[in-house]
Symmetry: D2
Subunit: 358 residues, 4 copies
Amino acid sequence: MTATSAPSRRIPVGVLGATGAVGQTFIRLLADHPWFEVAAVAASERSAGKRYRDAAHWLSGEMPARVADLMVTACDPASVDTQIVFSALDSDAAQEVEAAFARAGKLVLSNARNYRMDADVPLLIPEVNPDHLGLLPIQRAARKWSGAIVTNSNCSTMVIALALAPLHEAFGVEQLFVTTLQALSGAGYPGVPSLDILGNIIPFIGGGEEEKIESEPLKILGVFEHGAVTPARMRVSAQVNRVAVEHGHTACMSVKLATAATPDAAMQALRSWKGAIAALGLPSAPAEPVMVTMERDRPQPRRDVNAGGGMSVVVGRVRTDPILDLRLVAMGHNTIRGAAGASILNAELMFARGLIAV
Amino acid sequence: MTATSAPSRRIPVGVLGATGAVGQTFIRLLADHPWFEVAAVAASERSAGKRYRDAAHWLSGEMPARVADLMVTACDPASVDTQIVFSALDSDAAQEVEAAFARAGKLVLSNARNYRMDADVPLLIPEVNPDHLGLLPIQRAARKWSGAIVTNSNCSTMVIALALAPLHEAFGVEQLFVTTLQALSGAGYPGVPSLDILGNIIPFIGGGEEEKIESEPLKILGVFEHGAVTPARMRVSAQVNRVAVEHGHTACMSVKLATAATPDAAMQALRSWKGAIAALGLPSAPAEPVMVTMERDRPQPRRDVNAGGGMSVVVGRVRTDPILDLRLVAMGHNTIRGAAGASILNAELMFARGLIAV
Amino acid sequence: MTATSAPSRRIPVGVLGATGAVGQTFIRLLADHPWFEVAAVAASERSAGKRYRDAAHWLSGEMPARVADLMVTACDPASVDTQIVFSALDSDAAQEVEAAFARAGKLVLSNARNYRMDADVPLLIPEVNPDHLGLLPIQRAARKWSGAIVTNSNCSTMVIALALAPLHEAFGVEQLFVTTLQALSGAGYPGVPSLDILGNIIPFIGGGEEEKIESEPLKILGVFEHGAVTPARMRVSAQVNRVAVEHGHTACMSVKLATAATPDAAMQALRSWKGAIAALGLPSAPAEPVMVTMERDRPQPRRDVNAGGGMSVVVGRVRTDPILDLRLVAMGHNTIRGAAGASILNAELMFARGLIAV
Amino acid sequence: MTATSAPSRRIPVGVLGATGAVGQTFIRLLADHPWFEVAAVAASERSAGKRYRDAAHWLSGEMPARVADLMVTACDPASVDTQIVFSALDSDAAQEVEAAFARAGKLVLSNARNYRMDADVPLLIPEVNPDHLGLLPIQRAARKWSGAIVTNSNCSTMVIALALAPLHEAFGVEQLFVTTLQALSGAGYPGVPSLDILGNIIPFIGGGEEEKIESEPLKILGVFEHGAVTPARMRVSAQVNRVAVEHGHTACMSVKLATAATPDAAMQALRSWKGAIAALGLPSAPAEPVMVTMERDRPQPRRDVNAGGGMSVVVGRVRTDPILDLRLVAMGHNTIRGAAGASILNAELMFARGLIAV
């Protein structure tokens, strides 16, 4: 495996749901991307026909000038003439729209939950399960699509799965109790009313958040063979909370291992783990997908959320669990590593694997 | 058991550590107490000799006028001439000072952690283990004290133990995984710097917070017989977090029971539980020590923290746990139910039991 | 002037816009009102026909049981059969709906901005300008209404006008520079998205907030004679900000007086001012409409907002202004004194004046 | 005036008070500075003798590796062998320590208030009053120092003075009413307790904050001639508030001009103003010292504080004032533009002027 050569010129990409919070994160992350360039922005009927600058209530920093001038189109394949589309669509819209794009021959990199758990759809984390891309021929055959859908996980799942992967590879993870403290940006914009969260926490997140965390890691850490993913044998119990943090989901985890491990051994496994794609030189891949902190009161979202450009998960407080084997705290950027950045990294892997025509 | 008759006149009490955050909560809660009246306020050398109004940086509401005029004394038994003293001392000071008061014949109602786990000291929650007061004769004999020390638990333990007690009585609790989201007032004043917590969470609390939560509930739910408390056979794994909430500690709990129970049965057990002292009519005892909410996104600290005057623990989201038996969220007021209010309720129970001379 | 006799039985009242944030404040404040009792709740089409408990996303504390069972009606006079209606309607709806109620013979106590500056409509603060009720016969004659509309001011204006009134009476106010720091509840619910305000301030509030503050105080402090209100001769410059505070609008004020006054003289004027209705014994009238604090860092919204049950304005930091005469900081509860409580106090004054049939 | 040539090798500098909040900002900003390099870190007795990594409670991001290994020295000239020292000392320590360094031949770039208003000490903003460096020979002669002290202003003053400078140059500023909303980092670390500011604002800042804002701009905008600075003829009335914002002081300003100007003319003056040193190419000088936003709800600290790398002041809401001439809102980064970055820019100007030996 060697470093990937950049495309001879930047590949045009589209963003579906481009005006929302995750859509804007796509726009920001792609603004200076060495391989991709935003050529199409699509959103709801309400926005279609406006310039992007007028359609989006821009949330953070400067809007990239090139994109600001683009005309927003409707979310249909006829209006978006790029081979690659990043989807920041809500699950309400994603089911039909993403299928329409795949049917029309597009590669859809999706953040929505709709197709994640379908047997023929990769739930991809490049560092963890790049071989799950082997599902694509099966997906295409089964659905008669010339394009395809590749999904990334729920934003909390991403933090949890990246923290688990090194431990699972080294020791086998059998049980996980996890409580999350999730950032406001995970709810999109306008999202959580300030009167609900100022000086408060809310011990609930809608949309099946706990169920996603309890099911997605099993598929992600599953084994691909004979044309299918066999889920990891692991049980997960999740409790979720919304907290008054801008970006960064925190997960307090208690883990039962197949092979016992000391905290030192666990930290060693976490620290030395580089993931399956380190040699590929993907532009969005962080040097350390998992960083380990020895500070007794870290990771903290406001202070650590931008580790690795927002693409690293920071793990701390690795210690013995009085009932199971290990306790630890993991934290990662929910709209970068947990959403837009994850989709982009997925597309980079597909390019490196020759799955994107240039 | 019948309702307790009020004392013929209000019993004078002292407050140790009266100028700090918990000390102020004592002053506030005792301001209109039907049985007790603050007659002495003691604090560090720095404050001694000043009027209370000048010594305390008052944090909330109006300072009660009577107390404002009291002269602050040093924390020694010679300066505090009341039989009952409520101690809001830090653990640094509590070890020696509380012993000195007990030796001098005082009844010390302590918030500090120092004596909680001593075999001859009650770790008392009136609704849960009033019979643990049976340790007092043993304590007096062993230590040759004419007074005594009675402790209340750590503020998070209080929330957790009250939520567990009905379940333990009905079904037996064998394991608990708990992650807390704890309020700022739990750290006292000045406590947590705003630059550390604004838009942030801190996954750590010093002073052995997790160890307290893992040990104290076993003693609280233990059985008193033959002059000793046999701890409950239960294992606890705790992870703690500080969050930007003023008052109210939240605990996300996963519970393994000896006898399986449905969420409905658990809610029924929680709802119907009135505790061991309902008939005594203690002034600070809430009508419902444990309240159950059916709202899917409650309890929330800012909205529910004053339930039962801050003396009720609110439990919600009772549901099946995918690995163990039950999941639930409990929340209670950390400086009222979890500190000053708990001590006062302990003193009320002692009065009702005739353990306070009038 | 003597204390008002309570009505022989509680007078039924209606609340328009009863499900919103201000509407809920009406419901809460009226729950234990000695003179009034909520008999009708009206809201938008979407809510009409539901029980109040199902129609309102209740924001704070317990919903009063009586009201919870009421059926929500549409906002038309035929559906609301009470003589008195409190209006928490948005300005979009208020124009037509409030007129329809007045035309149908109802007394409308309005929070909306629509009619406030109309020459024949009282912009009433009972302590300040009770004689402005003299506009009612003129209003009825001009509009051929059997009912009437009485308005209370913008929530920031209320804080400012109450702080100015004693100074205006004593020394004459000629100029005011005021910068406000306004609470989130002033924007209603869902109101300000948390992603906009967490760790932030917004130096803008829509709906003509600054213009209201620059015009309403002149009418409030104006003189009623010969059937009309002559506005005070005063100029106001206002700048407004939204801050991450739940309740309590703060106003930093620089004041030019007609007759120079020292800070001590100003504080004396503020402290001794009891307003025009002190003798009437109105249930919602605070003992001190304006309270003066000597603490150098007060008033603070979180600590002082409930002064006088939320009906007092707290003034502090009264000091010399280097350019004009005086500087001071005023703070008051925006949804109680600045909205629902103000309307209720207005109704109480009307009852005391015999303007409400019983 | 032409762009400045970089020194042939990086000039070693020292930081006094290097472990505090402003000291850390110096360390961060100097980590990659093209001209300067941190060679000495000095702090209180308590820290002296420790490695910097062990002495500083590091607040944000990664500690620069080079500095982490430096040994902290005491704050005396014998221990700090660099010609240039940046002082982040508190005013308690600054009076004597800064004088000792100047006496010992060092150039002291000071953040402290102590010497700012001394007649022979420049209160320097390079874009505004670079000629005030002409005070240095006078200072040296008067005090018999071989070194010198150059100060930068109070952090709020900096925001206000930069917003005023273009208006003063174009139209003459005669009066200013200003209310500030100041960030937590302005109070240092640990600074403001979270229990004081969560969901709150505090209408007071100690240390003479209002007095500084009322006096410093007059000196900054004053004219240097005949060896002295004649203060601008201008009167300022300031009211300050602490708000729950991490970085970024906001100033709501009402301005009286000598020559009337429309908002458009004012914005044109602000926008076109590049300051006195644009041609020098100083590394820390922002392309636009003053940026003008047309968004109706900007500037906002969380969204705009890093404009120009934290060195630009953002001005918005430029509009007519109903009493004076103009109203506007200015916002800037209090620990970068308002403190450490200001000192560094001052040193850069001195290097460009040949005032630093290499």
